[in-house]
């Protein structure tokens, strides 16, 4: 059964993560600009001399559906490429998927990924 992997990563890690995924054969993915709230805390900005904390930090969200056998390697690849070791590197979670369809052809399942 294919699995949906969702990863929240730092803005600057997109290219390495994409390259790493490509290498392990998980080429398709969808990216979205998001803002994250977590231990990292916000970033401090100033506004006319008043400091304030912008609570939500820019992150990227990656969604990719991968075939069952690729899940572990894909997760490992993301982990390696996304980690900088500093707080705020992000989270990853995976969810099993019922159906996957390629809209162009109607193919389903692993074919569709």
């Amino acid at each position: 059964m294919p699995t949906l992997i969702t990863a929240i990563i730092k803005r600057s890690r997109l290219d390495p993560v994409r390259d790493a995924l490509q290498e392990v054969g998980a080429a398709g993915l969808t990216v979205c600009e998001v803002r994250g709230y977590g231990r990292q805390g916000g970033q401090v900005e100033t506004y006319r001399g008043t400091e304030y904390r912008s609570d939500f930090i820019q992150k990227l969200r990656l969604d990719l559906v991968v075939a069952d056998e690729l899940v572990d390697v894909a997760i490992a690849a993301i982990k390696d490429a996304a980690a900088t070791g500093k707080i705020g590197d992000g989270k990853l979670w995976s969810v099993p998927v019922d159906r996957v369809v390629r809209l162009r052809t109607g193919e389903e399942g692993d074919e569709a990924i």
Binding site: T46, Y47, R48, G49, T50, Y52
Partner: protein, 401 residues
Amino acid sequence: MGPASVLWIMLSAALVLFMIPGLAFFYGGMDHGRNVLNMLMMNFFCVLIVPILWFAFAYSLSTGDGSFIGNFKHVFLSGIDLKDGGATIATVAFLAMFAAITPALISGSVAGRMKFSAWAVFVPIWLIVVYVPIFKWVFGGWLADRGSLDFAGGTAIHVNAGAAALAAALLLGKRRGWPERTHPPHSMPLVMIGTGILWFGWFGFNAGSALAINGQAAQAFMNTFLAAAAGGLVWVLVEWIRDGHATNLGAASGIVAGLVAITPAAGFVSGVAPIIIGAIAGAVCCYAVRIKFKFGFDDALDVVGVHFVGGFVGSLTIGLFANPKFFDGEFMAGLFYGGGFKLLFEQFFANVVAVAWSFPLTLVILLGIKAVIGIRTDPQAEIDGMDIVQHAEEAYHSVMQ
């Protein structure tokens, strides 16, 4: 008056007109992305309604022999022809731009919560009741007769509008979530576009106030340039030392503070004075924008901290630096140029008079409007955005739409 002077007045009028969109972008960029159109509209509205009133009777009321108020001799510009090569017509247009930008300045303090209908009623009433008398007193009435100086509108425009802005902010109350939540500028590039236009246009504002092309105009130009630079530089340095960062908004605010402060002084000071004036304004306003947190009034975009304080400071410095000898002019000398404290006192007095007229009358006008149609939007507008609720439009539309 020679053709070059007519040209200069016309050009200056065009430059001041251009400042109004500039101000709109300066304010609009600083405001939240869902209130930006309301901000722009408050500013543009001033330049739609004021010219008509100015033409109809406000110009006439602002000029003439009286010491307190003008007359109705030139209503609808009657009696004004082109025999002087257009000098009067150009001057009327130039002054109309001043009248249009002054209420526009106030809009910064009421950002994000004032009913647009209330604003639309407020502007014309305020123009007639508050602006016209102060303008008359300062530029050709009893305050001028006492010897106080205001070259391009420090007292009549910035202090006046700043006092009104304070009154409006107090009466409207705080925006939802203020001051706990900071609303950072939704578009700093828009703020900087506004700043660039403002500085450019301000040359017309100040140097055009010589109402001729001559040495005074040139010196006013130079002073405008130097004071803005000094204001921006000092604000940025204060930030850098105090906060560890020099910001764009600091540079923009300091430029405007310097411009505000030099406005009353531009045609009366020379040498290093504009730099000192700009520098003082930059430093003082950089701290003054925090007063609102201390006293808890929500002057959203710092009209008080920049225009009131900057205008007041600039106006007082004339009492120190006014240099009639340099200009071969017939005005009092400032303290540092052998004039003693007389001018300083008159400067102080004139500004106090302006505040004493502007602040309470603005309150009264707004209370009147409040009683009849209300002045504050319903809370939903603050949540959903002023733009959609008040103007049925949004500033930005994405690809989905």
